[in-house]
């Protein structure tokens, strides 16, 4: 029997569990029944016994570890199998709240640590839902319904009530079935609304393909993220008025930092793993430029020259040369001189490339709009000045490369996607990915030749 708190830490029973089990004095105590559940989890690797959680606090940390390490080595899944044992739900819920409180109090709602905890929860729940996919569809559907109805009324919800979820960007409004503003989620509503339109096809199948478990899962994940965010914000506000935070929570916050640093070092120490998410200058590889950049470099022949050169090309050309790994960095608010201190590369390569593209426009951009030179400097972070000088740096921000989504809205004519574009959401990701693939091909060729 799977309890809803296993997939929704904000359900009513979850609250009861927290008040029953979550007393402060219990949090750091060895808990026999938790140990029992962990040890009796099917497929659990027990070799590393001292790393298995014995307390709420340790379990909280294990959740965090799993989500940070799971991408670095596949085998580690077996070490954390207990996280996917439905019996763990009570301990799981308490440790979830513990984790939220630790980052809320120590690092605040807008911190990187908070984002990692949000990702962690989303990863865990989505993995659990994934595992549940082996269960019959009816079972999944009604479990999700139960879990969702602790947060919203799935028979009566308007898309405008889901703005926060849509803003997360993982569920697009075009995936929702809308009728008069109402979101059709449940099968009975689907039939009532659309049943008469469906001929010669099985309505249940149509429902599952266009909504069903898939939409319910996405909604649940989105709502949990929104609720978790809110919860962390509230705890943070309350903690400002608190005299002394619980030392266990503070300790956990320190542990979180340690795990985070360990994950960071693993990521960069891994053999060749991060070669192409550099955060230092690397030479251009023109063959790896995405179609939109190529188009823009050849000059824009119609309207929208300004946006294309200033808003789109300038950030791309500068980041791809100086810091192509910008989006893999923790801190994205960097200055251009952090990576090009003498501005040599900027003056010798970046600016000339932008200017050449500007001149190739018809009519040439600077001919009728010389002020755009100032705007280019401003997007590089050097304020609104005709000369690009170090002393002005910081007056404006160094714009990060525009996402594909933004490009499509701002200058649709620029976007003619190739096959490779399907896999990415930002031209700079395309560039990094393509460079990696090209390198791989080259290595392969060398190896083949060698044989």
């Amino acid at each position: 029997m799977i309890k809803t708190p296993y997939i929704n830490p904000f359900s009513n029973d979850a609250k009861e569990i927290v008040s029953k089990l979550g007393q402060v004095e219990n949090l750091d105590k060895r808990n026999e029944s938790l140990i029992n559940i962990v040890q009796h989890t099917r497929g659990q690797n027990l070799d590393d016994a001292h790393n298995l959680p014995e307390t709420f606090k340790q379990l909280a940390l294990s959740r965090f570890e799993w989500s940070l390490f799971r991408k670095s080595s596949e085998a580690s899944q077996k070490k954390y199998e207990y996280l996917f044992n439905p019996d763990i739900y009570e301990y799981d819920v308490v440790s979830f709240y513990l984790l939220c409180q630790a980052v809320a109090i120590r690092y605040g709602p807008d911190s990187h640590e908070t984002k990692q905890v949000l990702d962690c929860e989303e990863d865990i729940i989505s993995q659990r839902l994934e595992i549940l996919k082996s269960e019959p569809n009816d079972f999944q559907s009604s479990l999700l319904r139960k879990a969702l109805n602790q947060l919203i009324d799935t028979n009566s919800i308007y898309w405008t009530d889901l703005k926060d979820v849509l803003d997360l960007g993982k569920l697009d409004i075009n995936e929702l079935l809308l009728s008069n503003g109402k979101v059709i989620i449940e099968y009975e509503d689907f039939i009532e609304e659309y049943g008469h339109l469906i001929h010669n096809r099985d309505p249940r199948t149509m429902y599952e393909v266009t909504a069903g478990v898939n939409i319910k899962s996405k909604l649940l994940l989105g709502l949990i993220r929104v609720y978790t965010k809110k919860y962390i914000r509230t705890v943070h506000e309350m903690s400002k008025r608190m005299v002394e935070p619980n030392p266990i929570i503070l300790e956990l916050a320190d542990n979180i930092k340690e795990v985070q640093q360990k994950a960071q070092s693993l990521k960069y120490a891994g053999p060749g793993s991060s070669q192409y998410i550099d955060d230092k200058p690397v030479n251009y590889e023109f063959e790896a430029f995405p179609p939109c950049v190529r188009k823009c470099l050849n000059g824009i022949k119609s309207g929208g020259r300004n946006d294309a050169i200033v808003l789109f090309l300038t950030p791309f050309v500068s980041y791809s040369r100086l810091c192509p790994g910008i989006f893999a960095r923790q801190e994205q608010n960097i200055k251009l001189s952090d990576v090009d201190p003498s501005l040599e590369i900027t003056h010798n390569e970046i600016i000339p490339m932008i200017y050449e593209a500007a001149q190739s426009c018809s009519p040439p951009l600077f001919k009728d709009q010389p002020q755009e030179k100032v705007n280019i400097n401003s997007k590089l972070g050097f304020g609104m000045h005709t000369e690009l000088k170090l002393e002005h740096e910081g007056e404006t921000q160094w714009y990060t490369p525009m996402s594909c989504e933004k490009i499509k809205l701002h200058m649709p004519e620029l976007c003619t996607p190739s096959v490779d574009c399907k896999k990415i959401g930002n031209p700079i990701t395309y560039y990094n990915r393509k460079r990696r693939l090209m390198k791989k091909d080259k290595n392969k060729q060398v190896n083949d030749d060698g044989n």
């Binding site: 409004i173 809308l178 909504a211 003619t416």
Partner: protein, 324 residues
């Protein structure tokens, strides 16, 4: 209907218009009711709205300003601010769709670039009606205002449920409303041959409806990405199937691979049906309804009944009739 030439208004005609014809009461209530929260912008010399950050305490002051300055063009923000004079303290913004007749990618008239005629203006009206249908019927939004802008139409939504939406969300909304994205029909249930046109509801239905409109308005000179002349010719030859919504036959005629090519290109055309930049901009200024579009001598007009609205009857300033 008399023949009306869309030519610029002279300085004298502009003065005449603001002195004798323009009335502050013609400014829509949805602007007057929120006057003090809005930023105004003016173009005095026909070089773009560079007199911005203007605010008005009441209707009377707006009236005096307009009568005194007789601007070439007048605009007001879609945004509501605590301090509109500094563009600070953003509260909310109207959700806006801008359909400019001169920019419709599938015009079937013979207009030169930048020009408009009754045919493409009529097409703009058709598009605006389709937009309104989606906003109302599927999205359930209320307080939808339609404005004739002088060379096209603005749809201005003042439904509280959507006015606080972020720019990102507006991006999603506008793409839904105009069918600008190919529906993602991948699923884990193993239905690989699912097509948007067999789904009679939801976004797929909307995408199908817009795509039909677009394909039926293509001409032999239309430019479609990744679609060569040969394929375009075949599309034009087989599109009659779509008049009866026979998408399966249409797809069969041109072949599944080429069909996918066409649909990708059509989605991208749909994207240009409205100026998406305007919809995602939370701080945009739009032409103030009731004022003069001096480049074409037309009045920007709040539309009471879109079905019967005809710009050449309802948006022509008096001075145009007096021209020799």
């Amino acid at each position: 209907m008399m023949e009306i030439k869309l030519k610029p208004a002279s300085n004298y005609e502009r003065k005449l218009f603001y002195r004798e014809e323009w009335d502050v009461k013609d400014v829509p209530d949805f602007v007057l009711n929120s006057l003090t929260s809005r930023e105004f912008g003016f173009d005095h010399f026909g070089q773009g709205p560079n007199d911005r950050y203007k605010t008005f305490l009441d209707d009377l002051r707006l009236k005096r300003f307009m009568k005194a300055k007789q601007p070439f063009a007048a605009y007001c923000s879609v945004a509501f601010y605590d301090a509109p004079g500094q563009r600070k303290g953003w509260q909310k913004s109207e959700l806006v769709f801008d359909v400019d007749a001169k920019d419709i990618p599938i015009r079937t008239c013979d207009c030169n670039e930048g020009e408009v005629c009754d045919k493409c203006l009529n097409q703009a009206k058709e598009i605006v009606l389709m937009i309104k249908d989606v906003l109302h019927g599927e999205m359930g939004l209320k307080n939808i205002n339609m404005v004739y802008s002088g060379r096209g139409y603005h749809v201005r939504v003042l439904d509280e449920n959507v006015m606080e939406a972020s720019s990102e969300l507006r991006g999603q909304i506008v793409q839904y409303v105009i069918g600008a994205k190919e529906p993602d029909l991948t699923n884990t249930l193993g239905f690989n041959s699912l097509q948007h046109f067999i789904i009679p509801y939801g976004y797929s239905k909307n995408f199908t409806k817009w795509s039909k409109y677009t394909i039926l308005h293509l001409t032999k000179d239309s430019k479609l990405d990744n679609v060569n002349n040969r394929l375009l010719k075949d599309v034009l030859k087989s599109r009659y199937h779509l008049e009866q919504d026979q998408w399966g036959l249409f797809r069969g005629d041109i072949g599944p691979i080429r069909f996918n090519k066409v649909m990708s290109a059509v989605a991208r055309i749909n994207m240009n049906i409205t100026d998406t930049k305007v919809s995602i901009d939370l701080k945009r200024i739009l032409r103030l309804p009731s004022t003069l579009h001096s480049k074409v001598s037309m009045k920007s007009t709040l539309i009471k009944n879109i079905e019967t609205f005809d710009p050449f009857d309802d948006a022509v300033p008096k001075f145009v009739y007096e021209r020799k």
